[in-house]
Symmetry: C2
Subunit: 291 residues, 2 copies
C-alpha cells in the first residue's frame, strides 16, 4: 500500500499499533516539568507556493502553526527551533526575511539546522510550558462546544489565490491568528481542546473519536470570516465547505462545561461529529496530507 | 548574494548579527530545567540517496545524528519528535521501516508531523537533560584535545558507495556511533566539546574560534577506522582527507584538563586549528551545506 492510499491518520494509527510512536495524534507532546513540545513542517508545493507567499509570510506562518499547537495545549511558548532546507540559489535576503517572519510572534529561535534541498521546507519545533493540558479525550455529554474566532477565511483566501485573485481574505490564509492567551484561558476549564488545522468536520470528528462521545455542531452558530459570502461566490464554493471542510483556520475548538467564546454546538452520548444546517445533516471532507 | 555563495556558517552569522536567532551555532540549545534540545534534518539528494540507504538505516541515522548533538552536550535523551515529508507513492512498509530505524536507539518518539513532498526529508528534534553542558567556548591553553573513537570511516564509506563498491566501511557511513555515555563522562570535566559532523579540520576550527585559542592536532595520533588505508586506495583519496576533511564520523571532540579517551592534540595560546603531519601543516576543507 502507498502513503497516498493510507493517508496521514492511517499512517499514524499504524505507527502507534506497532509501538513506534506514542500519542503522536495529539497537538503536542507532554514531557516532565510541564514541558510541551510540538513540531510541524511547511513544504513547498504541498503547504505553500512561493508565487503566492512572501518569505516573510512563510516564516510567520511556520511559527504560527506550531504556536497554535501550543495554544491548543494551553502552553506559554518558550523557544523555537527552525530547520530550513532551501535551494543553493536562494537569495540570502529572502532567507533573512523568512527568519524575520519566524521571529514576529516574539518567541526566540534558539536552534535548528540549515541544509540544501530541491524544494524549500521549514520545520519548526515549538517548546512551551503548561500547568494543565486538556488533551483531546475528555469531552463529555453536556459540554458546550466552542470556537475562539471566525472560520472559513483561510480556505477562501487559498481558493482566491488559486484563481489569481488578491481578495482581502488571502491575508487570512497567509497569516493565521495566534490564540495563545485564549488557549491558556480555555485550558483552565476545557475537558478537551484542539486547534482547527484540518477543517471543523474532520477535527471535530477526531475530538469525538478520542473522547468517545458525539459532537453536534449547528452551522448557523459558527462565526464566519468577514467577506466569506463574497469570496465563496467568487471561487464558486459553498461557505460551509470553506468554513468547515478545509482547515488552516487555526482557531481553537474546545469542549467546556460552561459557555465561553462562541458556542457552536454540544456534546452528547454517542459517537461521531455531525454538522447540522437547517435541521439537515451536512457531510464534508477535510485536508488530506498525502494528496 | 545566494545561499550557495554565503554558506551555512555565513548564514548563521548573518542571522545572529540581526538578532534573529540565538546561539544557533551550538550543538544544542539549553533551556531552563537542564533541558537540552537540538534539531537536524536529512534531505534526499543532499544527505542521502535512496539507492544507497535503506529506509531503516535512514531512520537510524536521522535519530543518531540528533542524539550525537545531545551526546556533545553531555545530555541524557528523553524524547524525539519526527517530521517526515515523503512522496505520496512511497510504500507504507518503507515508512514503517524508517520509524523502526528511528526507534532503534531506544528513545521514544512522542510527536511530529507527516506531509507530502517532492523529496524525502526527515527532520528530528531530540530532547534531553544535562547537569553540565561544556559548550564550545571554554577550551584553554594546556588542555588536551581528545576524540572518542576512530575517524574516516564514514567518508570512506560514502566514497565507496559513490563508486558502487559495497566496502565494509559503507556501514560506518550509514550507521554512525552513539556516544551518549562517553558524552556524559566527558561533560563532567571537558572545557569544550562538540561532535565531529563536518570534519575534524572544520570542527576543530570552530572550537578554536569560539574558545579564542589555538588547537594543534597531530594527525599521527588520530585513531583511524579499520580498513581506511584499503578504502582510501580504492577511491583514490588520501586517508587524511577522509579522516579530517569530510565529517559525519559523529565521534566527540573535547578539550579536557587531563587525558581521556584518545589524545590527538593540545590547546595553545593563539588562534585557529592546525593539523600537523610529519612536522608539516596540512590544509583540508570540510562539508559545505549549500553545495
Amino acid at each position: 500500500m502507498r502513503l497516498s492510499e493510507l493517508g496521514e491518520l492511517g499512517l499514524l494509527a499504524a505507527l502507534e499499533r506497532r509501538g513506534l510512536v506514542r500519542h503522536i495524534e495529539n497537538d503536542a507532546a507532554q514531557l516532565p516539568g510541564g514541558l510541551v513540545v510540538t513540531q510541524d513542517a511547511l513544504v513547498e508545493g504541498v503547504h505553500f507556493r512561493h508565487e503566492w507567499t512572501s518569505w516573510r509570510d512563510l516564516g510567520y506562518k511556520a511559527a504560527a502553526v506550531n504556536l497554535s499547537d501550543l495554544a491548543a495545549s494551553g502552553a506559554e511558548p518558550e523557544a523555537l527551533l527552525v530547520t530550513l532546507a532551501a535551494r543553493g540559489e536562494t537569495r540570502v535576503e529572502e532567507v533573512l526575511e523568512l527568519y524575520a517572519g519566524l521571529c514576529e510572534p516574539g518567541v526566540p529561535i534558539v536552534g535548528g539546522d540549515t541544509s540544501g534541498g530541491a524544494v524549500t521546507s521549514v520545520t519548526v519545533t515549538a517548546l512551551g510550558r503548561a500547568t494543565r493540558v486538556p488533551g483531546r479525550a475528555g469531552a463529555r455529554p453536556g459540554d458546550y462546544l466552542v470556537v475562539t474566532g471566525p472560520l472559513g477565511g483561510s480556505a477562501a483566501g487559498y481558493h482566491c489565490l488559486r484563481v489569481g485573485s488578491e481578495h482581502p481574505l488571502a491575508e487570512a490564509h497567509r497569516r493565521p491568528p495566534l490564540r495563545l492567551a485564549e488557549g491558556r484561558r480555555l485550558a483552565e476549564r476545557a475537558h478537551a481542546m484542539l486547534d482547527l488545522s484540518d477543517g471543523l468536520a474532520l477535527d471535530a470528528g477526531r475530538l469525538a473519536a478520542r473522547s468517545g462521545c458525539r459532537l453536534v455542531i449547528d452551522l448557523e452558530l459558527v462565526p464566519l470570516a468577514e467577506g466569506l459570502n463574497e469570496a465563496a461566490a467568487l471561487v464558486g464554493r459553498s461557505i460551509w465547505e470553506l468554513a468547515a471542510g478545509f482547515g488552516e483556520d487555526y482557531e481553537l475548538l474546545a469542549a467546556v462545561p460552561e459557555p465561553m467564546f462562541t458556542v457552536i454546538g454540544r456534546c452528547e452520548r454517542g459517537s461521531g461529529a455531525e454538522l447540522h444546517l437547517d435541521g439537515e445533516r451536512l457531510d464534508l471532507a477535510g485536508w488530506e496530507h498525502f494528496p
